[in-house]
Amino acid sequence: MKRHLNSTLVYVLLTIAAALILYPVIYTFFMAVMSPEEASAYPPSFFPHSFHMDNFTEVFEIVPIAAFIGNTFLISGLTMIGQLITASLAAYAFAKMEFKGKNFIFSMFVATMMIPWEVTIIPNYLTVRSWNWLDTYQGLTVPFLATAFGTFLLRQFFLQLPKELFEAARMDGCGHVRYFLFHVLPLSRPALGTLAVYSFLNMYNSYLWPLLITNSENMRTVQIGISMLEFQESTSWNLVFAGTALVILPSLLLLIFGLKQLVRGMAAGALKG
């Protein structure tokens, strides 16, 4: 009887917490389908009384949101692929190869993790500007193509692969390159998936760098675009929220399909910490 009461209490507490935490997100989707009058009415409504799907099409006409989304997917995808390549190569070298200066180079990788990205932002901005990379895709992506965190994550995974496999492959005359491409990478899909989700999301959500180095409207990313929306005097709230809803939708989908991968990656980071 007491147990039963306890679990009811837990459910009640969790439901209240979940409602409070989810509310800003639910509110976004509610506002996104309200009519302009309802969205700016007082008192504000908790639930939409109308259903305006037109908001979504209208927001595409007001701001180049399709371009924003396209840009963001492009740079997030490029960064993701780049990080997977550079991190898996470096991780393989650290995990499976012997070379001079391994410890020194490894400690250099550790050192990069201690440099907060914000600290290097001024020189990086000046570098990118001097290369005339402002407002370009390479300016948005190239500085983020290598990742120490990703290298650690993959190195850890590569180290766990059975030694026998490596020895057997070597016996068959399989060199490092072939072993890496045809044995290690296919076996590491879970770890690569984690890094992929993680790096994609990071780039998709980044704000300060795109804000600094993009000027023209058609180079902006969604995060900047969405905060520009609210400054447009002519737009009404329902459209701002329709835009926001469109922008957060991919992240939500990624969470639905990638929660497990993401948790694994985060946990790996914590354990390493």
Binding site: F109, I115, N124
Partner: protein, 321 residues
């Protein structure tokens, strides 16, 4: 840089070597070792080059810039020694900024972790439907600061926002969430706690999952209730995870930017002018790259100290076990 040049040189050589495959079999052990070295450097080269250009060089350049004054285009005008730092520490605004950042960390970190810990502990039970709650509590993590801040800006709206409307239903006077210097930092902190909840929750949950079940079973055998079990078993075993989350949250608080830029722009009256926001202001609005870099160096030192404390602590913890 010397290391890098070497690695690049070896990198190209390895490709030449790879092309003549026959040599593998005839090559002595020494050549083989050389080949392995060359190949390893080739594998490392992309990461190393990128780190050199976008991490190590900028780090040195930051130090260099912090000792110089610059023109608005970012060109170095003169060597000024430690003047930039002296200016910073004698300006009330920078000290105020440090105070704001510390206060911001104090407002966001303890509450953020405590909330996440309670939720993680509650969802750790083997009751039905916990996955839905796990999903709900992880959700803020994937939402970007940019779009979250826009959403919260409207929740905070003085007249039309949902918060003041709910308060009015409870017959409480409207709160000037973002418009009053007394409230603004507090409001940004609420939003930040919400935003960080996902990450904290995920880390603490997986920390709890890492505690072996037989620990709990033996506690149960000894007749310990859930609260006693939590305090005596979960908390001590979870303490490294809690420590990790704390350090990461403090570092995060020192790096906050987007929510400040969207919600308050450092105002009103600099009441939310945190570290990174003032670096941004100094360098990219006022075009004073020298003092901006000096601030960045101070930020680096603060974060470095926090990271070192964390490593020391973890080291000691590992030694203990």
């Amino acid at each position: 840089m010397g290391e890098l040049n070497k690695s690049m040189g070896l990198g190209t050589r390895s490709q030449q070597q790879a092309s003549s495959k026959a040599r593998v079999h005839t090559g002595s052990l020494k050549i083989q070792r050389l080949r392995e070295n060359a190949l390893a450097y080739t594998f490392l080269a992309p990461s190393l080059i990128l780190f050199a250009v976008f991490m190590f060089y900028p780090m040195i350049k930051s130090v260099y810039l912090s000792l110089h004054s610059t023109d608005p285009a970012g060109n170095v005008a003169a060597y000024v020694g430690l003047d930039n730092f002296a200016t910073l520490f004698s300006s009330g605004q920078f000290l105020q900024g440090i105070k704001v950042t510390l206060l911001f960390a104090l407002l966001t970190v303890p509450v953020g972790i405590l909330l996440a810990l309670v939720l993680a502990a509650l969802t750790h039970s083997k009751l039905r439907g916990m996955r839905i709650f796990q999903f709900a509590f992880s959700l803020p993590m994937v939402l970007s600061v940019g779009s979250s801040a826009v959403i919260w800006k409207f929740l905070f709206h003085p007249t039309l926002g949902m918060f003041n409307y709910v308060l009015s239903l409870l017959h409480i006077n409207p709160v000037p969430w973002l418009t009053s210097p007394d409230w603004a930092l507090f409001s940004v902190a609420i939003m930040t706690i919400w935003m960080n909840l996902g990450f904290n929750y995920i880390i603490l949950s997986s920390g709890l999952q890492g505690i072996p079940d037989d620990m709990y079973e033996s506690a149960k055998m000894d007749g310990a209730g859930p609260l006693v079990t939590f305090w005596r078993i979960s908390m001590p075993l979870l303490s490294p995870t809690i420590f990790f989350v704390t350090v990461v949250s403090i570092i995060g608080a020192f790096q906050s930017f987007a929510q400040i830029n969207i919600l308050t722009k450092g105002g009103p009256v600099n009441s939310t002018n945190v570290f990174v926001y003032s670096i941004y202001q100094e360098a990219f609005v006022n075009f004073r790259f020298g003092t901006g870099s000096a601030q960045a160096i101070v930020l680096f030192v603060v974060i470095l100290l926090l990271t070192m404390i964390q490593f020391k602590w973890v080291e000691r913890k590992v030694h203990y076990q």
